[in-house]
Every structure is written in C-alpha cells, then in structure tokens.
C-alpha cells in the first residue's frame, strides 16, 4: 500500500488531479459555511458581472441568484450524483459480471446478451427514456444514470473472473467445501476488484457529464443547484452575459478532469510496467 502511494505521488499529473479533487471536495463541504442561505434564493440585482459587486465573486444570474453560491453547492450535487450513480453502476456490473464469468455457459450467454443490448442502445437516449417515464427528481435521475452505466464494469469484472476462476486458490476453496457464493464474493472478487475500482473513475467522470447534460436540457431536477441547470439558465443571456454559462462549465471541466487524472494515476500506480505504453 505504501509503495502504491509512493508511486502515485511520484506522478505529477496524478498529484495534480488528487489536489484538484481535494479542493473540489473541500468546496463541497464548506458550501453551507460560506453561503448559509439557499443558493437558489434571490440574492441581489440580476446579471451583475463578476466582481462588479464585491459581495458576488462570480456575479449574479438572470434571476438574481448568486452564481458563486450555486457553484459551491453545485459541487455537492455533482460529486454526490457521481458517487452514488457510480456505486450503483459498479454494484450491478460486479454482480452481473461475476455471475457471467464464474458460471460461464448459458448463464454467461444470457447475461452477455443483455449487456450487449444495453451497449447497443445509446446510453444518453436510454437515460432520456427513463426520465420521460419516471420523472426527473434528483433520486430518479441518479438511479437512472447508474442504471445506464453498468455494462462496461460488468464486462471488465467478467474478464477478470474468467482469468481467475480456474486458479489454484479457487480449486482449493472447492476442495474445502466452500459454497459458490462464498467463493465468488469472498475469494475471487477481492482479487478481481482493483481494475474495476480504477475503472470506476471513468464511470464517475461520465456520470457527472451525463447529469450536467441532462440538467442543461432542463430535464434534471430544477430544485437543486446543479451546474448543468445554471449553464442552461445562462443560455438565454449568452449574447451579452456569457459568464453565467462559462463559470459553471469550467467547474464541470475541472471536476471531470480531476476524477480522470486520479483514475489514470491509480491505473499507472497499479500497473507500473504498462505506464510506458498505455497512459
């Protein structure tokens, strides 16, 4: 573990990503301390430019809401949606991939057909269908994003299980009389997990982007301070007050970049030999 950490910290890009991610997490945590008021409430005269009024660092939007407050609270929404949706996707992916890889045969065939079906459907379109059917409050949107993102982790888990399932330690477990469930989740899964966890960073980056796109189209929950919502509301005044859309977009960019860099750094630290070819 210490070795892993040292390898991670030696990589400047990974270090930068880690610091960036910590800053964003800190911003999310201190949001209520810096801005005790509801970020979606009226704060002042609408459409003030950033720093025009020292009270509003990033200015105000078309409805007179403080943009800085929305950015701070938006970090909470993005990270929370990213984290929960990713957990859902990884959990579904692990169960399906583990079952398919461990049992093989008909189970594998059937589960992989379903996975393929999900991969054939454009996942943003599937997300639109889910939102159209189940509505767009924040819980539904988060679950829906998790539900469209599981096929890739499932394939990855399956591939890991395929290489592990005939190893000696698994045969030893069989000889000891362990049940399938115990072998899958207690014995093989911990060995199959590292690449899946690293891949989770990709899922999380995509989940944050999916939510922001949904919010931008006004199809996410309008009652939370989401960055995507802010960009969408800034569209009407793009011609003159472009900063309303520009600032939250930059926040999304930084967050996704941080998550990606951390994921890449973890990947490099776990596979130091591959670093030359795959970064």
């Amino acid at each position: 573990m210490g070795k892993l950490l040292r390898r991670y910290l030696q990589n400047p890009a990974a270090l930068l990503g880690g610091v960036l991610l910590l800053v964003i997490i800190a911003v999310a945590l201190i949001a209520p301390l810096v801005f005790p008021r509801d970020p979606l409430s009226l704060a002042g005269r609408p459409l003030q430019w950033p720093m025009a009024n020292p009270h509003f660092w990033f200015g105000t939007d078309a409805s007179g809401r403080d943009i800085a407050a929305q950015i701070f609270y938006g970090a909470r929404v993005s990270l929370l949606i990213g984290l929960v949706a990713t957990s859902i996707a990884i959990a579904i992916g692990i169960v399906i991939g583990a079952l398919a890889g461990f049992y093989g045969g008909y189970v594998d065939e059937a589960l992989m057909r379903v996975t393929e079906a999900f991969q054939t459907l454009p996942n943003f379109l599937l997300l639109l269908v889910l939102v159209a059917v189940f509505g767009s409050d924040i819980t539904t949107v988060t679950i829906a994003i998790g539900f469209v993102s599981w096929p890739a982790p499932a394939r990855l888990t399956r591939a890991e299980f395929l290489t592990l399932r005939n190893r000696e330690f698994v045969q030893a477990c069989r000889v000891l009389g362990m049940g399938d469930r115990q072998i899958i989740f207690r014995e093989i899964l911990p060995n199959a997990l590292p690449p899946v966890i690293v891949y989770a960073s990709v899922v999380m980056a995509v989940a944050i982007l999916l939510e922001s796109a949904l919010a931008f189209l006004n199809l996410s929950d309008p009652n939370v301070a989401s960055w995507g919502n802010l960009i969408g509301s800034g569209r009407g005044v793009l011609r003159t007050q472009w900063y309303v859309s520009a600032i939250p977009g930059f926040a999304i960019l930084m967050t996704v970049l941080a998550v990606s860099l951390v994921g890449q750094g973890l990947n490099d630290a776990l596979n130091p030999r591959l670093r030359r070819t795959i970064t």
Partner: protein, 325 residues
C-alpha cells in the same frame, strides 16, 4: 466473400440483442403511469368510462400485456412505429425527415475525430515523453473532460457573437431560397460549429487509442525489418505501422457509435439543428413516448448497422480475419 459471410453472421447474432431491447422498452412503457388513452382523455377534457373502454379496444390496450407485446413486434417488423402524438403523423415519417441531418452531423464529426485522432496520435507516439506528446495528451484530456454543450456555447460566444464568422445555430438560412452549390456551402457554413463541437469530445479518445496502438506496433519485428531495409521513418509509419495500428481505431468506431448518437442529442439542441436528437429531446419534453421509443429503436438499428460496416472494414484492413474462419 468470406468476410461478408462473417459480418452477416455477426449481424444475425445481433438479432436477439434487438429483441431484448424491444421487449425491455415495451416493459418500460408498461411501467409508465397512465396509457395513451389516459393521455387522450385528458386532452379532450375527460369523458365517461364507456368511451375510455371503446378507445382502449381501438388501440388494442384491452388485451393482456403479452399479446400486446406480440402485436408490437409484428408492427415493428412492418416498420410501423405508431402515431406521433405531437406531430400528428406516423412516427416513421417524422423520423425519416430528421434522420439525414443527424447522419450528416455524425458522419462528418466521426471523420474529423478519426482523422485528427490518427494524426495527433501518430505525432504523440513519435515524440513520446517529449513536449509534443505531453501537450497533445494534456489537450486531449481537457477536451475529454469538457461537457460538449458547454463547448458549443463557448464556440457560439467566440465565433458567432464576438467575431461574427459563423452562424450561431440552424441548419441553413431559412427562406434564403438558395439552391445547388450555394445551398451546400450555406449548410456547410452552419455545420462547422456543431461538427467541431461533437468531434472534439471524441478526438481525445481516438488520439489516446492511436497513440497506444502506435507505440505497441512500433516495437514489433516487422517494423524493425522495415527499418533494416533502409526505409524512411515516414514510409514505415504510413505504409507499415499505420495499417496495423488502425485496427483498434476501427473497433472504437463501432463501440462509440451509440455514444456519438447520444452526444448529437445535446449538440443538436445547442445549435437548434432539426435532427433526430432534437426530436428525441422534444418528445421527452412533450411526453410523446411513441416517438421516443421509435427513435430509440431506429438508433439501435443504426448502431447495429455501423457495427456491420465496421466488421466489413476490419476484414479489409486485416486479411487474417477473413481467412481465419
């Protein structure tokens, strides 16, 4: 025509996938609160239960879910996607009107991302760990992390509003009466921003795969042989390494076809392009589930078609695949 057979076999294998998708979508529709008749009754301002019952019979909603599913499949085989509630036309014809714009947007962006990714990937691989490589990889990662709609909006601010070089949206100048070449140029002018927006997001993925693939091929024996023969570096890259390095890139086209369709929903909304994606957005807003399901069905067909073409190209690039089976 061995490769054609192989590709056709893969096409046939995607049939069950399509069935799963359709059944899944149908189930989802069953979960939606209220049915077509409820929506209709609400539209005409309510009515007595007898009328509702009659309407349900008319729309075939009074039979079991399973027979409804069977009927739905039969209708899809005839490409009858039902009636669009907001346009008052068959869904199939609404989609057919919008499809060309999306296809044009997607194929142009794909070509741009593919060509740009290949060139930049080669450049990065040839300068590995020196500044061009670092620069290209960093810029690629930034593009990858950018939300496409924001990219589009900033493009509008910069190139349409500040400089006034490009139009801010639309597919062509409405009512300009342009024909022939003038119209083509007008459309191209309108499509510059949307195409670049969509392409830049995917460029990053292509360039990373190309770079990794080039690095892998570079160390193989046949490249060393080519170098030993005295070939120049450019000839080695273009004639020998590139063809082999392209295989993963072609695979990626098939894998990303769906993602690209999803991306065009957002991009079309930003630039007000009358394409399939914008239609999907409108039908979500208006709760026109029939149209939405039709779009998803057509998109799935499109993805399957792209993968079929990818299989064919694969055989062209690597004769071993056609001969192997």
């Amino acid at each position: 025509m061995n490769i054609l057979l192989l590709a056709l076999r893969r096409l046939a294998a995607s049939l069950p996938t399509l069935l799963i998708i359709l059944a899944g979508l149908f189930l989802l529709l069953q979960l939606a609160p209220g049915d077509t008749v409820d929506a209709l009754m609400a539209q005409i301002g309510g009515g007595d239960p007898a009328t509702a019952k009659e309407l349900r019979h008319y729309y075939g909603l009074d039979i079991s879910a399973l027979s409804q599913l069977a009927r739905y499949f039969l209708r899809l085989i005839e490409f009858d996607l039902g009636q669009s509630a907001i346009y008052g036309k068959p869904v199939a014809s609404v989609i057919a009107e919008r499809l060309p714009v999306t296809l044009l947007l997607m194929s142009t962006s794909l070509c741009l991302a593919f060509a740009g990714g290949t060139a930049l990937g080669i450049l990065a691989a040839r300068n590995i760990d020196r500044w061009p490589d670092t620069l290209i990889s960093t810029v690629g990662l930034i593009f990858y992390s950018t939300p496409s709609f924001w990219f589009g909006l900033m493009g509008i601010v910069l190139f349409a509003i500040t400089f006034g070089w490009l139009p801010a949206g639309g597919f062509e100048e409405v009512g300009s009466g342009l024909t022939g070449l003038a119209r083509v140029i007008d459309i191209a002018h309108h499509l510059v921003l949307p195409v670049v927006t969509l392409a830049l997001i995917f460029l990053a993925t292509y360039l990373r795969i190309m770079r990794a693939s080039m690095l892998e091929v570079r160390g193989l024996d046949f490249v060393r042989t080519a170098r030993a023969k005295g070939l120049g570096e450019t000839a080695i890259v273009i004639r020998h390494a590139l063809r082999n390095a392209l295989l993963p890139m072609v695979t990626l086209v098939g894998l990303q076809a769906g993602t690209m369709l999803g991306g065009s929903v957002v991009v079309e909304s930003v630039f007000a392009l009358p394409g399939l994606g914008r239609l999907a957005y409108e039908s979500v807003v208006q709760r026109d589930l029939n149209t939405l399901l039709g779009i998803v069905f057509v998109s799935a067909l499109l993805v399957i078609a792209v993968n079929f073409i990818v299989d064919l190209v694969y055989g062209q690039l690597d004769p071993r695949i056609a001969a192997g089976r």
